[in-house]
């Protein structure tokens, strides 16, 4: 093996040219002349200012070698492993041509299978693993955004000892010196990692007393325990909505990104909504307190306090004959009667699912109902996943008691943030002899720890685990850790267990060596290549229901009544429990429903707000809301109010993950008075998450997420930034209908009139566009011979978005952001209406069908650039900076644009985004690496917008041209399309009548938004079909 010295930015004395140097750049170096030293020192002056711990360009090039290591599928980070500058590239590597590697993202105790694009050694884009049966290439906003998490400038960089900068070597020595008699307490998230399980065993052998607490702050094992109570054993329910005809969601947001099965559920759900293609059309009932995207997809939706869901479930279970009906308020509820009938009729085609914040009894009832309906084995499979089903609070209580008595010498928290979730744990934690905090940030839990070890990102370290269905998979790193001190959880555990440094690669391999039969290297290579092992999965079980447990649960819930005012703590749809709080893409991602960014809010219905005497005032296009103090007895949290139609009366909805305090590792910038760099530096002024929103953890008593609360108005004038609703919501909704922007019909209406979308056309539209001549018509640029004779003109790109399957999960928004280098602008700028997203989800509330404003329907509509053939933007640009391509896309020429913004004014869809400031000027160096090298990073003063991922189109164009073939249908996939779990986006060549997009355009549900303007959009929509139960359309809140 060749070993090269790492070239420092500034050679420090003789060390730089050590006697061990085997390679030299010039004779003078060899001679170590002073002249050479001077030159060497000067040569790298630009890099000299960079923090030695940060990833400078130079260091970055050094770590490029990791990709060579991956190409060879050898080790990633071993001392013998060679890190060479990229100027000595590995063989067969073409600079600038990305290579994809399979890996997985650990999330909620399972792995989400991924395919990550690596450009010149750095990960640049994350997609779902297309071969994996659970995701089929799709992903959610979380996976997409985790790329930015890797390059987060606020990540911890050094091992800290008592808060002071130390190093890994010191930590290693300290761990090696731990006596075998130590009493060790390890707290870690639920993890499917086999290596972790093995190390737990080893750890137990290494020390006298080892306790391991599976810290499940997110659900406190409610679902597992609920199902376990019903079946008498631990099972993992996985739903198959594609098989379902009737779905009941009890406060469950199963289509959300943060659901363990988000992608799987969305895809399967979409499959059984494709009435046109497959004839399947399920009916989704949602009974929920908040408005979720699942509620938005629901055919019938009932607003009900979360605290009442238990009683509702009990009544329903009674109606289904699961227990002796104890009459409660819901027994005669129209919904219960109708649901019981529909579910029973659907039998194995029915499925009930409950939200993971609901108490475990609800899950017990749900399990029993599914079993009784025959859904188990059909729409619900129970997997033997070995999930822990014991009471976490008992374990935690024991551990804390032990801590309190001073019986713990070493306390290790692995990748969790318990002092954020439970600030009251600070006291018991202080009792531990040595507290070791392993985490990506110097955060709440790092404070006061004896040791802080920076945790690697999953793209930096080896790991393993299982997907939700149990397919074993490895987590393959794509880059060496950006910071030398960073180590993964298994490496720390390995060090602890053995007293000597263990490398993730070896740890994982040795685990797998034990479980793989046959030729290990061969299988290993296949696993690493595919990302998972398809032949192995959890086995399905069909245990019987313990009727007694069900009756107990039912009776416990039967009398449960929601308090007058309840607060429901949900995990945030974007930043989850706070672990993604420092991710700017997610912070700036508008919540699907509230459209709020950079904040958590106390969402409530207009009537509740009125009752509490709180308001959200719209002034100057910004919301200035009152703040409320939410008190659950003993704990109170202050939050801004957000008034949201569709939330159950008396229910306050809050989300976790905000109010973080993360120490920034970045240096402060000094700017002039007249310079706005401080303002435009979204990443500056401390860590991103710090100071955003409030921590609602205190509201969760013993992990319970639904609590009685007293709410008082505590202030006013808090500015909340949202990307929508700058007009009155009612007025907007009325205009949407008048303008035919979002078109939908019920199944009956569709059957009676398959051309319903035409009826919603606001003005008579003729398919023959020649009736509507345009300035461009006679002389359309694409008709010129130069355009016609290009290599591109054979394809005419177009897109179809199916509103019937789109759930509004936001995956496309972040995928687009990642692919197209879209900058974040911060709360203040979003509030001013300057967000940059190229594709957005327009959310409208639709009252109608007798529904009131309090109880509207919600629809979400993705809006990218329509790529109009008669693009109004092109006609008004004075410098021809936006023009048509031969393949019919509307292109922005950034370096021609002078920024008159006339195009944006003239765009009826308002999809153009202007760079009001130089957003990339202040972009941290590490974040530069998250940028896609194939897409121009825009400067200040230019317009930008969706390009149909032109870089991907051109890549395929080139490839096809070199190979002298035509482009196949489906070869070009846009970023939004690729990420979409619902497969709602179809993209392709309109010139090919057989292409999928052409077929989709022939659907009778197809319409173009604002087609009457004769702009001829290339992006079409397919109208939504809803399948409501006509007997339940009411705003009855029981």
């Amino acid at each position: 093996m060749i070993e090269l010295p790492i070239i420092d930015a500034v050679p420090s004395g003789d060390d730089a040219i050590s006697p061990r140097t085997r390679f030299w750049r010039s004779v003078s170096q060899l001679e170590r002349s002073s002249d050479f030293r001077k030159i060497a020192a000067n040569e790298f002056v630009p890099g000299a200012s960079e923090s030695p711990g940060g990833a400078s360009r130079r260091q970055f090039l050094q770590v490029m070698g990791a990709s060579m290591a991956l190409a060879g599928l050898t080790a990633c980070r071993r001392p013998v492993e060679t890190i060479v500058p990229f100027s000595r590239p590995p063989e067969h590597r073409i600079p600038g041509v990305p290579v994809n590697y399979a890996t997985s993202m650990p999330f909620r105790g399972a792995l989400r299978p991924l395919l990550v694009e690596s450009t010149d050694g750095r990960p640049t884009k994350i997609e779902g693993n297309p071969d994996h049966p659970e995701v089929r290439g799709a992903s959610t906003a979380l996976e997409q955004a985790s790329l930015l998490g890797l390059y987060d400038p606020d990540r911890s960089r050094y091992v800290l000892r008592g808060g002071e900068v130390s190093d890994w070597k010191a930590f290693k020595q300290a761990m090696a010196a731990l006596p075998a008699s130590s009493r060790v307490l390890v707290m870690a998230e639920p993890d499917s990692s086999m290596t972790m399980a093995r190390l737990r065993q080893e750890l137990s052998g290494a020390y006298a007393n080892v306790r391991f607490v599976e810290y499940d702050h997110v659900t406190a094992r409610r679902v597992t325990r609920g199902y376990a109570a019903a079946f008498g054993r631990s099972v993992r329910p996985v739903h198959h909505f594609s098989e379902a005809r009737v779905i009941l969601s009890l406060d469950a947001d199963f289509l959300a990104s943060t659901d363990p099965d988000g992608v799987w559920n969305t895809r399967q759900f979409a499959q059984s909504r494709r009435m046109e293609e497959t004839g399947a059309m399920n009916r989704l009932y949602a009974v929920e307190s908040a408005y979720t995207i699942t509620g938005g997809m629901a055919d019938n939706r009932l607003r009900l306090k979360s605290g009442d869901i238990g009683a509702f479930a009990s009544a329903l279970a009674g109606a289904l004959g699961l227990h002796d009906t104890r009459v409660n308020g819901f027994s005669d509820h129209a919904w219960v009667r109708e649901l019981a009938r529909e579910l029973r009729e659907a039998g194995p085609g029915a499925v009930v699912v409950a939200g993971d914040h609901q108490p475990l009894e609800v899950h017990t009832l749900v399990a029993a109902m599914n079993r009784a309906l025959g859904a188990v084995g059909s729409t619900v499979t129970l997997l033997d996943a070995g999930d822990t089903a014991t009471d976490m609070h008992v374990e935690m209580g024991e551990a804390l008691a032990e801590l309190g008595t001073g019986n713990v010498d070493v306390l290790v928290t692995l990748g969790i943030n318990p002092l954020y979730d439970h600030p009251e744990l600070a006291d018991p934690f202080a009792q531990a002899g040595t507290r070791i905090h392993v985490g990506p940030y110097v955060d709440e839990s790092a404070a006061g720890a004896a040791w802080h070890v920076p945790e690697t990102h999953f793209l930096e370290a080896w790991g393993d685990g299982r997907s939700r269905l149990g397919h074993p998979a490895v987590v393959q790193p794509l880059i060496a850790p950006l910071y030398e001190d960073a180590h993964s959880g298994i490496e720390v555990l390995g060090l602890l267990a053995s007293g000597s440094e263990q490398f993730g690669y070896d740890l994982v391999r040795s685990t797998w060596r034990g479980s793989v039969s046959g030729d290990f290297e061969k299988t290993w290579r296949r696993i690493v290549h595919d990302g998972f092992l398809a032949e192995d999965a959890f086995s399905e079980v069909t245990p019987d229901v313990d009727g007694g447990a069900v009756r107990t649960a039912a009776s416990r819930l039967a009398g449960a009544a929601a308090p007058e005012l309840e607060v429901v703590v949900r995990h945030d749809g974007k930043i989850f429990d706070g672990r993604y709080a420092n991710n700017a893409w997610l912070q700036e991602l508008p919540d699907s429903v509230t459209k709020v960014v950079w904040d958590n809010v106390a969402a409530m219905s207009p009537a509740t707000a009125e009752r509490l005497g709180v308001t959200a005032k719209l002034s100057g296009g910004k919301y200035y809301t009152d703040t409320v103090s939410i008190d659950t007895g003993g704990a109170s949290v202050e939050l801004p109010v957000w008034i949201q139609p569709g939330i159950a009366e008396g229910s306050i909805q809050v989300t976790t993950g905000y109010g973080r305090s993360i120490a920034s590792t970045r240096e402060e910038r000094k700017t002039n008075l007249f310079d706005l760099d401080d303002y435009t530096d979204v990443y500056g002024k401390g860590a991103i998450a710090t100071g955003v929103g409030s921590n609602v953890s205190p509201l969760m008593q013993r992990g319970g997420r639904i609590a009685a609360a007293s709410v008082t108005r505590s202030g006013s004038g808090y500015m909340v930034a949202s990307t929508q609703d700058h007009g009155a919501i009612e007025e907007e909704g009325a205009e949407v209908a008048r303008r035919g922007l979002f078109r939908m019909a019920t199944v009956e209406e569709y059957r009676a009139n398959p051309d319903f979308v035409k009826d919603s056309e606001p003005a008579p539209i003729k398919e023959d566009w020649s009736d509507y001549p345009s300035l461009w018509e006679d002389n359309h640029p694409t008709l010129s011979p130069e355009m016609q004779n290009t290599l591109y003109s054979a394809q005419q790109w177009g897109m179809v978005i199916d509103l019937n399957t789109c759930s509004g999960c936001n995956a496309c928004v972040v995928a687009c952001q990642s692919e197209n280098n879209i900058q974040v602008v911060g709360k203040e700028e979003v509030a001013r209406g300057r967000e940059m997203h190229w594709i957005r989800l327009d959310r409208y509330f639709v009252s109608g069908d007798g529904a009131s404003f309090e109880e509207p329907q919600m629809v979400l509509q993705p809006v990218p650039c329509m790529h109009c053939e008669n693009a109004p933007c092109e006609q008004v640009c004075p410098v021809a900076a936006t023009v048509h391509s031969p393949d019919g896309t509307n292109q922005m020429i950034y370096n021609r644009c002078i920024g008159t913004r006339y195009c944006a004014n003239n765009c009826p869809y308002k999809v153009r985004r202007f760079n009001f400031y130089n957003w990339t000027k202040t972009l941290p160096t590490t974040t530069h690496m998250a940028q896609n090298p194939n897409v121009t990073v825009r400067s200040r003063g230019v317009m930008e917008k969706c390009s149909y991922c032109i870089q991907r189109i051109r890549e395929v164009n080139k490839q096809a041209n070199v190979e002298e073939r035509s482009i196949q249908d489906g070869e070009v996939v846009t970023a939004c399309q690729q990420a979409c779990p619902a497969e709602a986006i179809t993209f392709g060549n309109l010139a090919d009548p057989e292409s999928r997009v052409s077929q989709a355009r022939r659907s009778n549900r197809r319409y173009e938004m604002l087609a009457e303007l004769s702009v001829k959009p290339r992006t079409s929509y397919l109208g939504r079909i809803r399948n409501p139960n006509p007997t339940l359309i009411s705003n009855d809140n029981a």
Binding site: I898, Y902, K910
Partner: protein, 489 residues
């Protein structure tokens, strides 16, 4: 028609009362008096008051420079613009200033062609105002682009890439229309200045003054041939400027009318904008002249008759503009286009209703007071109204630009526009630029076209002195008559 003879004046005055024309220059001034009255201000020691005003204007100018520097350093984000509202104060101010820049050339060219001789008293100052207003206007399209260093790409400069501007864009037409208008106005103004500069040259006492005016007067001697050529040139330039008066604001209106934004896409925009521009231009002339004639003691040259005539034009164009406002509403309803209907209802009753009703009050209601003769001859009242009209016309552009944009086709994108301090101070700063230039004009250039005024004085009538011994008294009579209230019989 002008007063041509004392006889006709007398007859008209006795028979047709109000319709009788009074002499354009009053106070029984001789030719020399006029010369003295006008040029004296350029020759005497700079008054302290001028310095005071000039300093104030300079503070405004510095403010403008400072705001532009701040804008260039940081980017367009320092303004209040956002996603649906891509044009705000900058474009509003641009249209506002271009509109103001309409009166001068209209007075000089169109009224010249129509032989409206009363124009002579005010045309010089009005033209100067035009040029300075257009300069203020030109600031905005230049600085409003995101990448100001590339603004020259809007000009058709031959280049090796054969990359031309996009000739279908109304913004490009704007570039041509406004620059042509500015050039022609400037030349027209300068040509009109030549005889007066020659007068100044002849009176010059210092060497520098002699040299500067000597060069600028281009060898003018007042020879017959000079006068003949001058009159021809002036007529030709007037003929050239006349269509420009109409075209420049029509083209500016195309910025809006050619787009597809509801509230912008309106075919009546060109005439409506031209009427509005004349309206605001005359209001600005009134504002400036009411002060200037008082300060410089030229009430005999810019008489109340002049002001009244301007007020009548304000009344006329204000009513035209008001008619256009109502027509827009009618068309929005009559067209049946829901976007259009929403846009106009939103104007009147939406979040910017305050701006709309400010505009309606200032532009439609206030000028109607000029139906009353007493009010349109009251200097304080017309000053107040002219200020209101200026405010109203600024709001008209604000209403058109911002309220149309802030809520267009997709309700999801609706937002609100709030200007920042930079927006406001930049606008204030342009007044600094304007008044700096205007004060320099008042100080160094004859603010009244001396030669032209002399041509319309009663004394200029070749027959004025025909009745020996009578003339003097007669002039006296006329001037007395002018001082009297014309309503008396």
């Amino acid at each position: 028609m002008p007063v041509s003879s004392a006889d006709s004046e007398k007859t008209l005055a006795s028979t047709a009362d109000y319709h009788a024309e009074v002499p354009l220059v009053q106070g029984n001034l001789s030719f020399h008096d006029i010369t003295e009255l006008v040029t004296a201000h350029t020759e005497k020691k700079t008054p302290l008051a001028w310095w005071g005003a000039f300093s104030l204007a300079n503070i405004g100018l510095l403010l403008l420079v400072g705001m532009i520097a701040y804008l260039f350093w940081n980017g367009t984000g320092v303004w209040g613009l956002n996603n649906p509202v891509g044009w705000g104060y900058a474009i509003v101010n641009f249209v506002f200033w271009v509109g103001i820049g309409h009166a001068g050339t209209l007075i000089s060219a169109i009224l010249f062609l129509f032989r409206q001789q009363w124009r002579t008293g005010i045309n010089r100052a009005a033209e100067a105002m035009t040029i300075f207003a257009v300069m203020c206007a030109l600031v905005f399209p230049t600085i409003h682009v995101g990448r100001v260093w590339a603004i020259y790409w809007t000009l058709p400069i031959p280049n090796q890439m054969e990359m031309w501007p996009q000739f279908k864009s109304p913004l490009l037409w704007d570039v041509f229309a406004v620059s042509v208008y500015f050039t022609v106005s400037l030349v027209f103004w300068y040509v009109g200045l030549i005889p007066d500069i020659a007068t100044m040259r002849d009176r010059a006492k210092t060497k520098v003054r002699r040299m500067v005016t000597g060069v600028l007067s281009m060898g003018w001697t007042g020879a017959n041939r000079h006068w003949r050529n001058y009159e021809k040139a002036y007529l030709l330039l007037a003929a050239l400027a006349t269509p420009l008066v109409l075209s420049v604001h029509s083209v500016v209106s195309f910025d809006f009318a050619v787009s597809i934004v509801p509230g912008w896409h309106t075919t009546i925009f060109p005439p409506y904008f031209v009427a509005g521009a004349i309206f605001s231009g005359f209001a600005m002339v009134v504002t400036l002249m009411v002060i200037a004639r008082k300060v410089y003691g030229i009430q005999n040259i810019i008489t109340i008759e002049h002001l009244e005539k301007m007020n009548i034009i304000i009344l006329l164009t204000g009513s035209m503009v008001g008619f256009a406002y109502i027509t827009e509403f009618f068309i929005a309803w009559y067209s049946g286009v829901q976007y259009e209907q929403y846009a106009f209802l939103n104007r009147a009753f939406g979040p910017y209703a305050w701006a709309y009703w400010t505009m309606m009050t200032c532009n439609l209601v206030f000028p109607q007071f000029f139906w009353i003769r007493k009010l349109r001859r009251s200097v304080p009242f017309m000053f107040a109204i002219s200020i209101f009209v200026n405010i109203g016309m600024w709001f008209e552009r604000f209403v058109i630009t911002v309220t149309s944009l802030h809520r267009d086709y997709l309700p999801s994108s609706w937002d609100y526009y709030t200007p920042t301090f930079v927006d406001v101070l930049t606008f204030v700063g342009t007044f600094g630029l304007f008044f700096t230039l205007f004060l320099l004009f008042l100080r160094f250039i004859p603010m009244v076209a001396i030669a032209e005024v002399k041509g319309v004085m009663p004394q200029a009538d070749p027959h004025f002195y025909d009745h020996e011994g009578d003339g003097h008294d007669h002039v006296h009579d006329v001037s007395l008559a002018a001082d009297q209230d014309h309503t008396q019989s």
